[in-house]
């Protein structure tokens, strides 16, 4: 008996926009406290080596320098633990807040300066002399395992997943297709660098940190544990967050350092990362080498896939544990039937920046691998790239489809989907046959133009639960408190839309509070495209409960049966627009002030994930002289289950596509043979600008609402990035007339020219 949808499904403007447009946002760097100290981290200039000594005398002598810490000063702080995907064997590779004994990548924190002014802190950092006995840098993840640390190998663990009799399938195969594929090292690179400001209130014995993001509650609990405090004596506060993409908001050494320093110095401590630090110290991602084989029958049907891959983890295993290789192995089979499957992922430590997740972690990579494989199968048996997919797609009648794999502590069961139908829609939207004809004519006239497509299954809505508190304030404003977080994606607007429709108010009347650990006891934050699904359903449940309470109370006060009442625009009225007395929710809340007010809670528990899916199609033009690639068209067809705010979903997809284009054509963290990072500014880590961005055509469908939540929601965050590498690779192959030419991302001009050379 909820009101009809007025806001869900509508592209209403965002609640977040006004302060951000007016320069009134509060990002981490905008937070300051009186008498704060500024922290500057001294970072290793060596990729690998033993620390012989750290001389801080000169730094300490500079004016304005309050203290300089090295590992000895924080020896009591344990290493930072795993938040996700804890795998046996990874523990010895965790990172301490300052390096002790050994440095493992250029950027490894070795000392921390605390000074009265940020400029003074940076000056002092230049005066810290770190003597290092250098060791050879380990830079390849697919070398033979060797010693990484005394007594510990470069390979701490393997991820193994699979089902079915893979060896028998290969024995029975008509033929086998084998590829070696490489994905480069990229990262999310939010426009806001990291930042953390801690202060200690001795009067309340309360430690506070501002600048939290993504997972404030988990980080609160960890900071408390690492510093030996009760979690109830630590609070984290999320301000505005300038982009997340998996990277921002994980617990990093610097977060712990500012908290420890605020406690020890009894003064606020502020740290704002600079861009060079951000590019060498915040998590990297993606870098993998795959050796994949498919067993196929004579018609190009896949009988089995066998993949061995090497995951370049960098110098430490951080909070994500084995998440990225785990997701890689789990999501590789994608939308295809694949009767037998085996994946073996080697987690390998190298002397590079540590790795974590980046938007569509393990999927950007595995989709590239799987879709390259499908294209190779098509070439092998001489069928069209569309036909090979049709022959292998899981059909609608097979839903829900149990994959026989698990990831992130859940069994993978595709909840709903009609993959073939979405493929048809994508082909119709791009005009597949007509476009092919046009491209054929252009190729005949000498241009290098081509089209490619890729399909994928996404995952979203990770549990285990989410809780939401809603209450009607005496002013009539609805306050909604969630343990989710916002990294700029529009959480406030989407939750307000769901709450507003369910309760019967206007969405602009809902004030959404997120990322504040003092306002709600538990929270799981914003990652894994979970918020709209998990927090959305918890919001709906809370609003359902609040509505029932409001109607029950009003029924008594208005001497009217509950079922004769409705809530419209914040007023309790007679159903069906019948005349009669009415009462505002604000009045009702004021009336109930002494009996607990008008408030309710919603809690959504969920042990599965929900699986949106999509098709990407790219049209590219290759410049044979420069090796440059222009993406002329890019189309995404994506089934979202149900779009709460289509404008925001399309925004998520467009943003993801452009990040995907970056990782496919431009972005790569490169190192020299000594492990020196070569991409330390935006002049050498090349993110796409408006110029490199095609108009992105988006087909948003709702053919397969999730049966696992009443609104049918699935997540929107990662489907834009997922298959960009795969689709553009296929389009470049087509442009060059060389099936299977692209085996490595990004397709830099140098790599492309090498391909052209090898064919001539």
């Amino acid at each position: 008996m909820t009101a009809p949808a007025k806001f869900i499904g509508r592209s209403v403007p965002r609640l977040e926009d006004r302060p951000l447009l007016m320069g009134r946002g509060r990002f981490a760097a905008d937070i300051s406290f009186p008498s704060q100290l500024h922290m500057r981290v001294v970072r290793s200039g060596h990729a690998h080596g033993n620390i012989l000594s750290i001389d801080t005398t000169a730094a300490r002598a500079l004016p304005g320098v309050h203290a300089v810490w090295t590992a000895d000063d924080v020896a009591d702080i344990p290493p930072i633990d795993f938040r996700l995907t804890r795998v046996e064997g990874l523990q010895p590779y965790r990172q301490r807040v300052l390096a002790s004994g050994r440095v493992r990548y250029v950027g490894d924190p070795v000392a921390a300066i605390f000074a009265e002014d940020a400029y003074a802190a940076e000056d002092a950092a230049d005066h810290v002399a770190v003597a290092v006995e250098t060791l050879p840098a380990i830079l390849r993840a697919d070398d033979e395992p060797q010693e990484f640390l005394p007594g510990h190998s470069t390979e701490p663990a393997e991820v193994r997943k699979g089902y079915g009799d893979v060896d028998a399938a290969f024995r029975a195969a008509h033929s086998v297709v084998a590829l070696e594929l490489i994905i480069g090292r990229h990262s999310g690179v939010p426009m806001e660098t990291r930042g953390a400001i801690a202060r200690y209130d001795a009067g309340r014995d309360m430690l506070e940190m501002y600048g939290a993001a993504k997972v404030p509650h988990w980080n609160r609990d960890q900071i408390a544990r690492l510093l030996g405090r009760a979690p109830s004596s630590v609070n984290l506060f999320e301000c505005h967050v300038g982009g997340g993409f998996g990277v921002r908001g994980e617990l990093y050494p610097e977060d712990v350092l500012v908290c420890a320093a605020a406690l020890r110095f009894q003064r606020p401590v502020k740290w704002i990362e600079d861009r060079r630090e951000n590019l060498i110290a915040a998590n990297h991602s993606r870098q993998q080498i795959h050796r994949v084989r498919a067993a196929i029958d004579a018609e190009g049907r896949i009988l089995a896939i066998d993949d061995e891959f090497f995951h370049d983890q960098g110098g430490y295993v951080r909070t994500h544990g084995a998440t990225v290789p785990d997701l890689t192995a789990a999501m590789l089979p994608g939308p295809y039937r694949v009767p037998a499957y085996r994946a073996r992922g080697h987690i390998r430590l190298t002397n590079k920046t540590p790795g974590g997740t980046y938007r569509a972690p393990g999927r950007f990579e595995s989709t590239f691998v799987r879709e390259r494989l499908l294209d190779a199968v098509a070439a092998k048996v001489g069928i069209d790239v569309v036909e090979v997919r049709r022959r292998n797609l899981i059909t609608k009648s097979e839903m829900p489809f149990t994959r026989g794999l698990d990831t992130l502590g859940t069994d993978i069961v595709y909840d709903s989907g009609d993959y073939a139908r979405l493929l048809d829609k994508a082909l119709a939207a791009i005009g597949w046959d007509a476009t092919q004809k046009k491209l054929h004519a252009r190729r005949a006239a000498g241009e290098k133009v081509g089209i490619g497509l890729a399909m994928f299954v996404e995952k979203s809505g990770l549990g285990p639960f989410d809780g939401v508190h809603v209450k009607v304030e005496p002013s009539g404003t609805i306050e909604l408190v969630t343990g989710a977080a916002s990294v700029g994606q529009g959480v406030e607007t989407v939750m307000a839309q769901i709450c507003a429709d369910t309760l019967g108010v206007h969405y602009t009347n809902v004030r959404v509070i997120h990322g504040q650990t003092d306002r709600i006891e538990k929270g799981f934050g914003a990652f894994a495209s979970r918020v709209t699904v998990m927090t959305g359903e918890a919001t709906r449940l809370a609003a359902v409960s609040l509505r029932a309470k409001a109607l029950a109370a009003a029924a008594e006060l208005m001497q009217t049966p509950v079922d004769a009442l409705d809530i419209v625009d914040g007023e309790v009225v007679r159903t069906g627009g019948k005349a009669g007395p009415s009462m505002s929710l604000a009045d009702l809340a004021r009336t109930l002030t002494n009996s607990g007010g008008l408030a309710a809670e919603g809690r959504f528990e969920f042990n599965h994930m929900v699986y949106p899916y999509g098709v990407h199609v790219a049209v590219t033009r290759v410049d044979g002289d420069t090796g440059g690639v222009v993406v002329e068209r890019f189309l995404v067809a994506y089934d979202i289950g149900r779009a709460v705010n289509p404008m925001l979903v399309e925004g998520q997809i467009a943003g993801g596509v452009v990040q995907g284009i970056g990782g496919t054509l431009y972005e790569e963290f490169l190192y020299d043979e000594n492990g020196e990072p070569l991409c330390v500014s935006f002049a050498d880590y090349l993110m796409p600008t408006a110029h490199e961005t095609p108009r992105i055509e988006i087909i948003l469908t709702e053919d397969a609402p999730s049966p696992l939540n009443p609104l049918g929601l699935k997540g929107a965050g990662e489907g834009g990035a997922n298959a960009v590498g795969a689709a553009i690779a296929a389009a470049i192959d087509d442009a060059l007339g060389q099936p299977g030419a692209v085996t490595q991302l990004p397709v830099s001009p140098q790599r492309l020219k090498a391909m052209l050379k090898s064919s001539s």
């Binding site: 592209s11 403007p13 965002r14 977040e16 926009d17 006004r18 951000l20 447009l21 007016m22 320069g23 009134r24 946002g25 509060r26 990002f27 760097a29 905008d30 300051s32 004016p63 940020a118 400029y119 003074a120 999310g188 690179v189 939010p190 426009m191 806001e192 660098t193 505005h240 967050v241 300038g242 982009g243 997340g244 993409f245 600079d274 861009r275 990294v487 700029g488 994606q489 529009g490 404008m647 925001l648 399309e650 925004g651 467009a654 943003g655 993801g656 452009v658 990040q659 500014s681 935006f682 002049a683 993110m687 796409p688 600008t689 408006a690 110029h691 961005t693 108009r695 992105i696 834009g720």
Partner: protein, 159 residues
């Protein structure tokens, strides 16, 4: 280097008498010394453009200018765009076209676009795209930013 000089920065029509080191960037002075934190610092290398402000009518990267160089000049920042609570057409267009997500790069894009359109109201679409390619955004994929700026350009011309 660390000795401070007294200067006056005129930001959005208000004078701020501050004392800064000669090496202090205009971006830091606007934010830290004048308290106008709407101008954001994204790279300090002059590449991302998040710190773009308008100085004497020209969009400039305030991370590449020293505060002392801006003394006596007319500085406009994002805080000065709206007329009270009434948004500038550029701000309104960004909202209508979903031209922002996290909002971190937004002040830089707004000042870049306003600065260019005030100087060159009839700028061609291609030239506008060139200009907008000088700033970085990591959330939107740019197309809504381009849409918003084109819409605002039409609106500003119509005034």
């Amino acid at each position: 280097m660390t000795e401070k000089t007294g200067i006056t920065l005129t930001i959005n029509g208000r004078d701020h008498a501050i004392r800064v080191e000669p090496r202090r960037t205009l971006a830091d002075a606007i934010r830290e010394d004048c308290g106008q934190t709407g101008t954001h610092i994204g790279c300090e290398h002059g590449i991302c453009g998040a710190c773009t402000v308008i100085v004497d009518g020209e969009p400039v990267r305030s991370c590449l200018m020293f505060a002392v160089q801006a003394a006596g000049k007319i500085i406009r920042t994002v805080e000065g765009l709206a007329d009270g609570d009434r948004l500038h057409p550029m701000q309104e267009a960004f909202m209508q076209h979903h031209g922002l997500q996290c909002g971190f790069c937004t002040p830089g894009f707004l000042m870049l676009a306003v600065g260019v359109l005030e100087r060159e109201p009839n700028i061609s679409d291609d030239d506008l795209l060139d200009v907008l390619s000088s700033n970085l955004c990591r959330c939107t994929g740019y197309q809504n930013i381009v849409k918003a700026v084109r819409a605002a350009a039409a609106e500003m011309r119509g005034k």
